[in-house]
């Protein structure tokens, strides 16, 4: 760690990165957030015209995954240190950011949004249906263990390895984690469905004679296929609710089903 960029500066960048998307905009996406996050390092490294030019290059278009940006911030701070020392050019910083934001966003989207979040949520839902009321706390702990861990590690690894940050991130093998949590999400959803069915069998609206099994499994399959055919959830929600209301009210009028 250089004399200029100490742990205090990195800690301030980490804190600011939690507000990275606060000024998100359609023109240049997260550019204001990126400049805001890196501000403590720039003010430590530059003064006068150099500082102004440094700010200008960090107000360029920027769009990446919020959690993965910490790794990029660390690497860019390292690069800015090299620019301040005359070891590299400012254009290298621009090029590095433009090159890295896409791949890091892809890793973040695939791991956090497409795998970890569904897994943690499915686990908590299965817990709730099984009678574990504190399951939402498990969801928060599990998710944030990876979220906060990767943010802190990313910033530190990014600063330590500079332009080689992508290799460091790849070494964690988030793709394999992604695959595993995806499969675990599937298992949890299966458990959640079975416990839900079990609860329905004993609920006040049970149909009796094993009809719940047929109704629930049949509904899930029909709705799943409808969603796969690009029908939106709200349409299905209102459509199937209207059908059920008409069917049950009509049936109840002629053949009283519920007592």
């Amino acid at each position: 760690m250089s004399a200029q960029i100490d742990r205090g500066v990195l800690a301030r960048i980490l804190w600011r990165s939690f507000f990275f998307q606060a000024a998100n905009n359609y023109e240049r996406m997260q550019n204001v957030g990126f400049a805001y996050c890196i501000q403590p390092a720039l003010e430590r490294l530059y003064t006068g015209d150099d500082l102004q030019r440094a700010y200008e290059r960090h107000l360029d278009f920027f769009n990446s995954h919020a959690y993965m940006t910490d790794a990029l911030l660390g690497a860019v701070v390292k690069l800015e240190e090299d620019v301040a020392a005359g070891r590299t050019s400012p254009e290298q910083v621009r090029a590095f950011k433009a090159t890295m934001m896409g791949p890091l966003a892809a890793i973040g989207d695939s791991f956090f949004w497409a795998s970890l979040k569904p897994f943690a949520a499915a686990l908590a839902v299965a817990g709730i249906f099984s009678g574990v009321p504190w399951a939402p706390i498990v969801f928060l702990l599990l998710y944030n263990l990876f979220h906060l861990g990767l943010r802190a590690y990313g910033l530190s690894a990014g600063y330590a390895s500079g332009e080689r940050v992508f290799e460091k991130i790849c070494r964690i093998d988030l793709v394999q984690f992604s695959d595993r949590s995806h499969y675990l999400a599937g298992i949890c959803l299966g458990v959640a469905s079975a416990t839900l069915l079990d609860t329905t069998l004993h609920g006040p609206f049970a149909l009796g004679q094993g009809l719940e099994f047929v109704v629930l499994v049949g509904l899930v399959l029909i709705l799943f296929q409808s969603l796969k055919r690009k029908l939106d959830m709200p349409w299905l929600l209102y459509g199937f609710s209207a059908l059920t209301l008409s069917f049950v009210v009509g049936l109840n009028t002629f053949f009283p089903l519920f007592r």
Partner: protein
């Protein structure tokens, strides 16, 4: 009672506007997920146990709502604040909470997710001014202004989401109280059926669409059969 209802509406609005910040503008600790939002509303109103089941169902319904890339999905946070808020306010001040009331609360509150998405797009468009102000601040070497811009963005989101939550809670609660049918009648039974079968089935179906691999779907099917058979064997099911 009226005074307490007004205070509770204000408290839910404040909580909802704060939690909405977590969705994208600040932290992203997942406090904005329905699984957490609805129990927090329940905790605020002193009816935490009643909130848990609804939280799981609403979470499943919006499980596929992911902010991937520059896409703006329906706002599940605002929807869950309103759905949880009106359902639990009904439980506390009116006539309890059952599957029929939960179903009606979801049907009344679901459109808020789409209005929330429209509001998110508007806020992002309005934030173009912040990018322009950042350029001006740097040109004038007024770097303190630059460090205040994210706070301005946070305040805009807080105020806009808070206003939407407050309005939706008032309208939603009025609709819920007036539309809820008398228990025992055919419409009540039909809403109970929606709450017992349609909402969970749709939720599970939505959650299954987040599994992009066939093997994960096969695992879901296998674990469903094994768990159900296990529950039968344990004698919990008939």
């Amino acid at each position: 009672m009226t005074h307490s209802l007004a205070v509770d509406l204000g408290a839910i609005t404040l909580l909802g506007a704060l939690l909405a910040l977590d969705r994208r503008a600040a932290f992203q600790l997942m406090l904005s997920q329905p699984l957490v939002v609805i129990p927090l509303v329940g905790l605020l109103l002193g009816c935490l146990p009643e909130s848990i089941w609804l939280a799981a169902i609403v979470q499943l319904l919006w499980m596929a709502s992911l902010t991937v890339g520059a896409s703006v999905p329906p706002n599940e946070t605002l929807a869950s604040v309103v759905i949880g808020g009106i359902a639990l306010l009904h439980a506390r001040y009116f006539d309890g909470l059952d599957r029929a009331t939960e179903a009606l609360a979801v049907l009344v509150g679901a459109p808020v997710s789409l209005v929330g998405r429209w509001l998110d797009v508007r806020l992002d468009k309005e934030n173009a001014h912040l990018a322009a102000r950042a350029d001006r601040a740097v040109a004038e070497r007024d770097y303190a202004t630059l460090s205040r811009l994210p706070l301005v963005g946070l305040m805009r989101t807080f105020v806009a989401d808070g206003a939407l939550v407050a309005l939706s809670l008032i309208v939603g609660l009025a609709l819920l109280v007036n539309l809820r049918p008398t228990p025992g009648g055919p419409v009540y039974e039909a809403l109970g059926t929606v709450g017992t079968y349609i909402l969970p089935a749709l939720g599970i179906a939505v959650a299954l669409t987040t599994l992009r691999r066939r093997r994960a779907l096969a695992l879901a099917g296998a674990s469903f059969v094994l768990t159900f058979v296990g529950l039968l064997w344990l004698g919990r099911s008939e």
